[in-house]
Every structure is written in structure tokens, then in C-alpha cells.
């Protein structure tokens, strides 16, 4: 399931921030490696909520530093 989530997340990051989907790997940091800024991160989170049917509260967004953080959160709350 994590692979499906990763693929979906990569597509979202590509659509929101224009980053090639293949660059979105589990160990990558959104801010430092993928250059997703704080506002784009919010757009990514909102798109994830729509796509995966999860709720990601504001308080949780700051904990999603890496792609793995996001994939694991979505997998656990799906």
C-alpha cells in the first residue's frame, strides 16, 4: 500500500510544485531536498486529503518533514 501512496503523493507534488515525480522518494525532505515551500506544502496536504480520504490537521502538517513521514501518516490514518 505504501507504494501506491508514494506514487499518488509523487503525482500531487508534481502537480503542486512542478517537481519530477521520480524525485519524490521516501528519504527526501520536502523543504530541503524537494524545495516545496510552506505554502506548497499546505496545497500538497489538502490534495492528499482529497486523494486519500484522510484528515491531516494543521497541527500535524509541521511534523511531515520527509516523504516517508507523509506516506506513513496517510497509511496509518487511511
Amino acid at each position: 500500500m505504501s507504494q501506491d501512496i508514494l506514487a499518488g503523493l509523487a503525482q500531487i507534488v508534481n502537480e503542486v510544485a512542478g517537481i519530477p515525480a521520480e524525485s519524490v522518494q521516501m528519504d527526501k525532505s520536502f523543504v530541503d531536498d524537494l524545495d516545496v515551500d510552506s505554502l506548497s506544502m499546505v496545497e500538497v496536504v489538502m490534495a492528499c486529503e482529497d486523494k486519500f480520504g484522510v484528515t491531516i490537521p494543521d497541527t500535524e502538517v509541521k511534523n511531515l518533514n520527509t516523504v516517508a513521514d507523509a506516506v506513513n501518516y496517510i497509511a496509518a490514518h487511511k
Binding site: D37, S38, L39, M41, V42, E43, M46, D58, V61
Partner: protein
């Protein structure tokens, strides 16, 4: 027992538009040192290239007075024929008396009632709704609506999240009777349970007692999420209530909060290329209640919209309050 209703019943619309942009242009380079930032960083996160700050001798009432005079001239209406002056602002120097009373006196609107609206960045659209209702009911014939802000007085220039966003300016419209309806029904609301997201801190009473400034604070990510997540549906509801299709709009004039919010809303609304998008924030910054009339004026001055064309405006911000309508360009 039955009481009288007001005498007249008419349609209403925007009759004139005027603005005031302060003279001093402040480029990003002037602000970056205190927030360890750069021109590029600010442009990427907000779209802002430059903004304008009012002079020390200027304030909400003085800027609003100039915008009001320009709107009256544009409408061809004398100040004595204004029945109500409504000012949307949260940066007037006095809790009381109101900025509207001062502006009414300055322009010679001696027959006008006057009050301020406190709905921050949504204030202009709130005031339009009230003005429209006053005119249609007959309680007022001509209403002057002003949005005026001197945000440079309340910005924390050491705060990376907000120092570069806010700016000063004023815009005004005259709302009056028209043969056909020129202002759509309003969609509006407020969520006070999230009021801490954009708030003056400390409150003005505490600030006065302790001798510290009451400054604007904002949780940018939360505001962005709320605006992008909710205002798209609000805009669709506004369109629905107006009776127009998205393709019939000449322009989309959202509150100039952040160009990233505007861009996200444009994407959500799937607006056609023929719809002009207001991006006055690039040169004016976020002027809260003044941003919509300023942005509309810029579009009209550049010929991108002309008199009689429909545009959608939506204001949103502290409160969290929002409001919007479709109206015809004056």
C-alpha cells in the same frame, strides 16, 4: 399595527470608483535585512515586488478622504447627496470616533449617517452588502463605501511571516440607484472559533496599559489553507447566486492577500482565459479592506475591464470573516 417601510424601492449598483495610493514605494530590498530574507524569496511566496507606505502625516481618514473624493467625482455625485458613509478598516487611529464620521466631515457629506465596519480583509465586501441593502430598501439613496488601511502602523517588521505582506492605501465606491441591478446577492460568513489565526497582539487595552505596540500576527499556513480550501466554494456560490456562468465574468478580483492564494483559487475555479485576474498585489502589497477597490481601479485604468462588465470580488481574512459578490464595473 403596521409601520411604514422606506418610500422607495430600487435596484442598486456601483456608480463610481476612486482610490488613493501613497507616494512612497517600498521595494522588497528595504525590508529583507530585518527578516533575513531576499527579494526572490518574497516574490516566490507572495508575488509582491513592491508596496506603498503612507507618510507620517497620513492616516486612514486622510487616505480615505482622497479616495472618497475621487469616487464622487467618478460618479458625478455631490457629497451633499450622500446619505451614508461606510468605512471598512481596522487600522483607524481611534476606537472612537469612527473614520467614517471624519471622512464624511472632510468631504462635506453633511447629510450622511456614518459608521465603520470591522471585518478586516473582508470589510469592503461586507460594506458593499450593507450599502446595497440600504439603497434597495430606500433607507439611503447614495452610499459611499470606503476601504482604507494604514497597515504599516501595525506590522511587525521583524516577523518573517508578515513583514513583507502588508501595505497602505485606500479605495472607495459610490453605491446608488440604477435601472437594473448591478450588485448580486452577497455570500458571507465568519468563523470566530478560529479568530486567533489573524489577530492583533497584545490587545489594544493591554498594549495601552503596558506601553507596548499592538501588532498584527498571522499564522500564514493556516490562513492559506482556509482561504484556498474554502473560498473556491464561496466563489462558486457567489456565481450561482448572481445567475452568471463563470465564462460570463470579465474579471476575478479577489482580496489581494497573497498571489499564491489567487493562483490556487483561479485553478480551483477553472476560470477561462478570457477572465482577467487581478494581481495588483505585485505592486500594492496586501492592503486589507482597500485591496479590492485598488485592484479593480488598476484593471479599469489599464483598460482590462470597462464600465458595465461583471466582475467577481471576494474578501476574506481576520475573523475569520469572508464576503463576496458579483458587481458591474462602475
Amino acid at each position: 399595527m403596521t409601520l411604514n417601510t422606506p418610500d422607495t424601492n430600487t435596484h442598486s449598483g456601483l456608480l463610481g470608483l476612486g482610490v488613493y495610493r501613497p507616494a512612497r514605494i517600498v521595494r522588497n530590498d528595504e525590508l529583507v535585512e530585518r527578516i533575513d530574507s531576499s527579494d526572490e524569496w518574497i516574490r516566490e511566496r507572495s508575488g509582491i515586488i513592491e508596496r506603498r507606505f503612507a507618510g507620517a502625516d497620513e492616516d486612514v481618514a486622510s487616505m480615505g478622504t482622497i479616495a472618497a473624493r475621487n469616487a464622487l467625482a467618478d460618479a458625478g455625485i455631490d457629497a451633499v447627496d450622500i446619505d451614508t458613509v461606510i468605512v471598512a478598516t481596522f487600522t483607524h487611529k481611534y476606537q472612537t470616533p469612527s473614520a467614517s464620521a471624519e471622512i464624511a466631515a472632510n468631504i462635506g457629506a453633511v447629510n450622511a449617517s456614518a459608521f465603520d465596519v470591522g471585518a478586516a480583509c473582508a470589510g469592503f465586501c461586507y460594506a458593499i452588502s450593507v450599502a446595497d441593502a440600504l439603497v434597495r430598501s430606500g433607507d439611503a439613496r447614495n452610499v459611499l463605501v470606503v476601504g482604507s488601511e494604514k497597515l504599516s502602523d501595525v506590522v511587525n517588521f521583524d516577523d518573517r511571516g508578515t513583514a513583507f505582506i502588508f501595505a497602505d492605501g485606500a479605495g472607495a465606491v459610490v453605491v446608488g440607484p440604477t435601472p437594473e441591478q448591478g450588485i448580486s446577492p452577497t455570500v458571507w460568513g465568519a468563523d470566530g472559533s478560529s479568530r486567533e489565526v489573524i489577530i492583533m497582539s497584545p490587545d489594544t487595552v493591554t498594549a495601552g496599559r503596558e506601553g507596548v505596540p499592538s501588532l498584527l500576527t498571522m499564522e500564514g499556513q493556516r490562513v492559506f489553507r482556509w482561504a484556498v480550501g474554502s473560498m473556491g466554494d464561496v466563489c462558486k456560490e457567489i456565481l450561482d447566486k448572481s445567475g452568471l456562468q463563470a465564462g460570463e465574468l470579465a474579471a476575478f478580483v479577489p482580496h489581494q492577500a497573497n498571489i499564491r492564494i489567487t493562483d490556487a483559487l483561479v485553478k480551483k475555479l477553472d476560470l477561462e482565459d478570457s477572465v482577467v485576474i487581478a494581481r495588483d498585489i505585485q505592486h500594492a502589497g496586501n492592503t486589507s479592506s482597500a485591496s479590492i477597490p485598488l485592484a479593480l481601479h488598476a484593471l479599469r485604468e489599464s483598460g482590462q475591464v470597462t464600465k458595465g462588465q461583471p466582475f467577481l470580488m471576494v474578501g476574506f481574512g481576520a475573523g475569520l470573516a469572508f464576503a463576496g459578490q458579483v458587481a458591474l464595473v462602475p
